[in-house]
């Protein structure tokens, strides 16, 4: 079996495991849908984006998509990697002839499939319940920002897995970071309600740029939302995270010498 086919087989294996893992399904798929329904029930009607009145339904559809990206490609991937490491699985894989990259590619492949499937679900809910019109510009921006967001947040998960010593700490840090960043980035609460200094802090982090790009694509007629600042910040974070990950990634839970 060629390595490329092995990577595909390993990805399918990981996806089969995901489909059987009820808590992962609830956490990564059902939870965002519930959030979308809740936000729309609370903030009915219109909200403001970029100084204009915009429909809340489209606003929160775009926002929850950016939340899904962080939840699945950051929190969930970080949890999977640290758990597999703690169980000794990463070490076990290292002891087989399978190249290390095949494992990493399969985990990222699994994440990409789960993110796109969940995003499709959110978009469907938005189109059916909140009259989101799926124009060509919107879909173009959607594809680009989901791809960039997945790259960026998967890299961050790989980088942070080296910092988190245990799966326990990872399962706290992942959702915590996703939630705090969501509040800083105008994902849960529109930015016109936020103080400027808080918005400025949010702009340092990648989620604000994924969210802002997606919201532009969903809310501004004829716009894809793709711009140099948003794509640049997401790519810059991805590159920095990959450099950190390549230096810090660990295959074993405990340091040597403890036996």
């Amino acid at each position: 079996m060629s390595d490329a086919r092995l990577a595909v087989a390993q990805t399918r294996f990981a996806l089969r495991g995901y489909a059987r893992d009820t808590s992962a399904l609830v956490f990564t798929a059902l939870f965002p849908v519930i959030l979308l329904l809740l936000f729309n029930a609370i903030f009915k009607g219109n909200t403001k984006f970029d100084g204009r009145d915009v429909p809340s339904g489209a606003y929160y559809t775009a926002s929850i998509i950016s939340y899904v990206i962080t939840l699945v490609s950051f929190a969930s991937l970080l949890n999977r990697i640290t758990t597999a490491r703690e169980r000794g699985l990463l070490k076990r894989f290292r002891g087989t002839p399978m190249p290390s990259w095949v494992y990493l590619v399969s985990e990222i492949g699994r994440t990409v499939v789960v993110v796109y499937a969940t995003v499709a679900l959110i978009v469907a809910v938005g189109a059916i319940f909140y009259h989101v019109h799926l124009s060509g510009h919107l879909l173009e921006g959607l594809v680009v920002y989901v791809a960039l967001g997945v790259c960026c947040f998967c890299s961050l998960a790989l980088a942070l897995s080296g910092v988190c010593k245990t799966a326990d700490s990872a399962s706290a840090i992942g959702p915590l970071a996703a939630t705090i960043l969501s509040f800083l980035s105008g994902v849960f609460i529109p930015t016109f309600l936020m103080p400027t200094w808080l918005i400025d802090i949010g702009k340092v982090f990648p989620l604000e740029h994924a969210a802002q790009g997606l919201q532009s694509a969903f809310l501004i007629d004829g716009s894809t939302g793709i711009n140099a600042i948003n794509t640049g910040v997401l790519l810059a974070w991805a590159v920095v995270a990959l450099v950190v990950a390549s230096r810090n990634f660990r295959w074993e839970a405990r340091g040597p010498g403890v036996n």
């Binding site: 079996m1 092995l6 087989a9 390993q10 294996f13 089969r16 495991g17 059987r20 893992d21 597999a84 169980r87 000794g88 699985l89 070490k91 076990r92 290292r94 002891g95 087989t96 002839p97 399978m98 190249p99 074993e252 040597p256 010498g257 036996n259």
Partner: protein, 311 residues
């Protein structure tokens, strides 16, 4: 027979602490080597160096003619691992997990046959989360075998198993012996090494304390059969020493004699007791088990490592 594993003067330190002080040994093709030691003796450090997980600080190591520190993919195709701690994903079945692992190897064995070889025929389609501890451990062994390795590293395969599961694991490993596999087995149970291994190496504080077959260890370690009895009031140890020699010890009311000539010494003792009208309470002659030998050996501090830093 060719040596599958060759180790010469292997040294390994963690920080300032030297864990392996230069050990040398070989494992021959088709042999089961029992690598025995208490926790902290350096067993896992050694096996992880042989498996290619850890770099060494000194000495020469060769496994199947390759230095494990320069492990290649081809080499990994020829070795099988059963790690001490590996908790497989509970959502998959036995067969799914084994089928996936088989894909990593160039020349895998038949998955169904491997499931049978480890005695999990009836559990092939069971989720791993529903297996018992012993069954999970046997699946670990199946994962080590699925690449059809030339040498199998088994790191404490029965630690934490109940006595029944342990026996089942033993008979499975015996099955591997008849299949001619070369096996490097670490354990902290002497009875396990005695039962399974062709040859035993006892590792103590990073040095080889003894090695040989179970019989050789028994003979060379020089632990004698011990005759003991409880003395009655008025017992005079000096009179008994008169017939049995000065090796007779008196500890409290217990009289001890270590001897290699059990039958002769017992005859002398019994005749002396009859003539002297001495009652020998709780008389016994006990041959130490290899387990006792191991425990004694493990407790002794070897002179050569005294003063070296230990954590």
């Amino acid at each position: 027979m060719a040596a599958v594993v060759e180790v010469e003067q292997l040294r390994k330190s963690y920080g300032q602490v030297e864990r392996l002080h230069g050990i040398s040994f070989e494992v021959q093709a088709g042999e089961i080597l029992g690598f025995l030691g208490v926790n902290g003796a350096g067993k896992t450090t050694t096996i992880e160096i042989l498996e290619g997980y850890r770099p060494r600080d000194g000495g020469r190591v060769s496994v199947l003619g390759t230095d494990p520190a320069k492990a290649t993919r081809e080499w990994r195709n020829r070795i099988g691992l059963v790690l001490q701690e590996c908790e497989l994903d509970p959502v998959y079945t036995v067969r799914e997990t084994l089928t996936m692992f088989a894909r990593y190897f160039e020349r895998p064995t038949d998955v169904a046959a491997t499931i049978g070889a480890v005695g999990l025929h009836e559990k092939g389609d069971e989720r791993i989360g529903r297996l018992s501890g012993g069954q999970k451990r046997r699946l670990d062994v199946a994962l080590g075998l699925v690449g059809d390795p030339e040498v199998l590293f088994l790191d404490e395969p029965t630690t934490g198993l109940d006595p029944v599961a342990r026996r089942e694991m033993w008979s499975m490993i015996e099955g591997l012996r008849s299949a001619g596999k070369t096996i490097f087995l670490t354990t902290h149970y002497m009875d396990e090494a005695e039962h399974l291994a062709d040859r035993i190496i006892i590792l103590r504080a990073g040095l080889i304390a003894a090695q040989g077959t179970a019989e050789e260890l028994n003979a060379t370690l020089g632990y004698h059969t011990e005759i003991t009895f409880e003395s009655s009031p008025g017992f005079d140890v000096a009179r008994l020493r008169g017939v049995l020699g000065s090796d007779v010890q008196l500890e409290g009311s217990v009289v001890r004699l270590k001897t290699n000539r059990v039958q002769d010494d017992l005859t002398v003792l019994l005749e002396w007791a009859k003539v002297e009208r001495v009652e020998l309470g709780k008389l016994q002659a006990i041959r130490p088990s290899l387990d006792d030998v191991f425990v004694k050996l493990a407790e002794e501090t070897p002179a050569s490592v005294q003063g070296s830093p230990r954590e």
